[in-house]
């Protein structure tokens, strides 16, 4: 099956927002084994929208649009699609009830405009919007599928996952299942070298390497009659990757380093304190993204000044004088001080030079120490990063969490 994605909205053409919807849908369709040969963006204009739909109709078996389902007069996706397919618009009682219910829930008044959102092309499938007011619509006609989704990303993504994906899975003879193997500590080219044989020679499943600024990952994709069979094909490949990379494989599937570490801390009930200089609160903020973390995350100290390191963490002034605040010894004392003063089993610290100024020959910008304290054990790791202030700090957060992860993997 060939699909085209059409994003509707003048704000994209003006550059006010970046088109993340098209990326999300492209990724989802790739996993379903549906080819996307074109993406298009068009404004809130009936004539030009009709032109884009006509072209897409020639090229593709399926069109997916995002946007233009809102309550105002310039939201005209459904009306334009109905016109193109020669369908009348009709009032959908079910959709209207859902919209009413949504407004009651958020405690806002329904306006006459919102009634417009309950009109859909005759004979189409109506999809409830669990995150907003605009229902989605699917038209199936003449062997073509036309899917209309709302523009706000959280509404669109939820509707796709809950309703469009199952609908499309039924259409496909084969299903494609992907599993992401998340690998920390290993650079992109190193990772690629170690799996080149798999990437080049395997056909089903396939293995493909990806790299983001902070981490690399491998995607295993299997084509099979159903998900169960696909997973049976994937399992031994995943095992082989775990064998090759050991505990550098920090997770499988959709998750993040902060979620993995947060869960480990909660499962093992490890009370934790964080002491940050370089990362300025980002390590604490990352851990606190986990709901329920208050059972183990006790406190974070952003000790930016030397005085704060001494007073709040008990760092020895002589350590700072002798080795500097950016040093192995200081990182160790920060982690230990944070843990001991709060009565926690775990302490984690960062200190370093984020730049753009402050670097020296001996400690250039990007020099980072991560300190760990765990049940009496105390050490620090030296790292070096390049790039902007923001990048150095973000990579430091990720690495600090990964260092902690490896430390606590075997703690009972």
């Amino acid at each position: 099956m060939k699909a085209e994605i059409i994003s509707i909205g003048t704000e994209i053409l003006l550059g006010d927002i970046v088109n993340t919807n098209a990326q999300f849908l492209s990724k989802e369709l790739a996993v379903l084994g549906i080819d996307v040969y074109f993406q298009a963006v068009v404004g809130d204009n009936a004539e030009r929208l009709l032109q884009v739909i006509s072209a897409a109709y020639e090229n593709s078996d399926m069109i997916i649009t995002t946007g233009g389902l809102g309550p105002t007069f310039d939201d005209l996706t459904k009306e334009t699609a109905a016109k193109y397919f020669g369908l009348d618009m009709e009032f959908n009682e079910w959709a209207y009830k859902r919209i009413e219910k949504y407004f009651r829930r958020i405690g806002r008044e329904l306006t006459e405009n919102n009634k417009k959102q309950a009109y859909v092309p005759k004979g189409s499938i109506v999809m409830q919007n669990s995150r907003g007011t605009a229902p989605g619509v699917i038209i199936e006609k003449d062997g073509k599928i036309f899917v209309m989704l709302p523009g706000p990303p959280h509404e669109m993504e939820t509707m796709f996952k809950e309703q469009v994906r199952p609908f499309l899975e039924e259409k496909q003879e084969y299903t494609f299942v992907s599993r992401i193997m998340r690998i920390a500590d290993v650079g992109e080219s190193n990772m690629e070298t170690r799996v080149r044989d798999m990437v080049e020679n395997m056909e089903n499943p396939t293995v493909a390497p990806y790299a983001k600024p902070t981490e690399s990952f491998l995607r295993i994709t299997a084509k099979a009659k159903d998900a169960e069979e696909a997973n049976r094909l994937i399992d031994p490949v995943a095992q082989e990757i775990r064998n090759r990379f050991g505990d550098a494989v920090y997770a499988e599937g959709e998750t993040t380093m902060e979620e993995v570490v947060g869960k480990l801390l909660m499962e093992k009930n490890l009370k934790t304190a964080v002491a940050e200089s370089l990362t300025g609160g980002l390590v604490s903020a990352a851990l606190i993204n986990n709901a329920g973390i208050s059972s183990v995350f006790m406190e974070g100290i952003v000790a930016y000044s030397n005085e704060a390191k001494i007073r709040l963490l008990g760092v020895n002034p002589e350590t700072i004088e002798k080795f500097g605040a950016v040093s192995e010894a200081c990182a160790m004392e920060m982690a230990k001080g944070a843990a001991e003063r709060s009565g926690c089993r775990i302490g984690l610290s960062t200190t370093g030079i984020a730049g753009p100024d402050g670097g020296t020959d001996e400690k250039p910008v990007g020099t980072v120490y991560v300190g760990v304290y765990a049940d009496g054990k105390n050490y620090a790791e030296k790292l070096s990063f390049s790039g902007t202030r923001e990048r150095i700090r973000n990579r430091s957060v990720y690495s600090a969490l990964n260092i902690l992860r490896k430390e606590i993997l075997d703690i009972g």
Copy 2:
């Protein structure tokens, strides 16, 4: 002038990257007064690329492509464009010398493939790539302009700014200058109501409202012969907006709330301590994004547990028992404790319920208190937000910084 942006690259169609190039170019063209009615994305495939170029040619006076200028066989933008316009490809000595020089500079070996990058359609304008190897190309033919830019964003953006923008400015009789008025504290619809007369009636400059998840802003855009004249037109409108919104206008132009507050603290040399519960380190991290902030930012306390609020910030246990940790009194004591214990003039605190659990009838999820301490003055503001955990926390960071901004505006 009407333009269409074509992004070329299979990685966009697979959803592996988000198309930031199209956003960048759309924004730039809007400022130049060039209308973008369509954007398209197509893979590294000659036939489909030709199809997209043909359609764009019908609709537009100018086509700008990104991508497909690399050294490999599937980079075929220039070849396809040459074919479309009936031009031969020719070797460009100047471009080749530039590529050689680039490789010498980064200390890498030039391959035979890179020679391909020096071939351009006959008679075209060749643009040097100061950030990479692929030269850019402009074809002017039959009253149409065809601009080809490299795909990597930093190469593309630099080439556009240095070479394409001046080229286009000469074509345009008028220049367009925009100024963004950043407004905090005022909801989107409230803001719109207060400037509706300007939005509806003004022609040059125009005033347009925008809203992002955390803030709203107004964009004033003037059309004039040059930037100086445009700014003369903008100035009184900017003044009128400042009159209407007072100190809710927190900045003009490209900046952020954290930058504005960081600069104010540094200019006024106000030593600051932060105490965070709800925001878990994000307020500290936001301030620390400012280079040089270490002169005034002393420390941050992420006091997630009640015990930490008491021990590290000196919050009275009775306050927590009587009013709860999420209360006006607790927020006030947190801010005061952070400032007093570190000897700072300024203390800022957050406490609240980020959800998804933990809400009550009296204090539902989204209830937030921001505490301020400034030279002995001590108070807290109650806010309420809706949405996800992440959204509630991000809005709280922004609001806390804005509350601090207003407090310190008049401090000497």
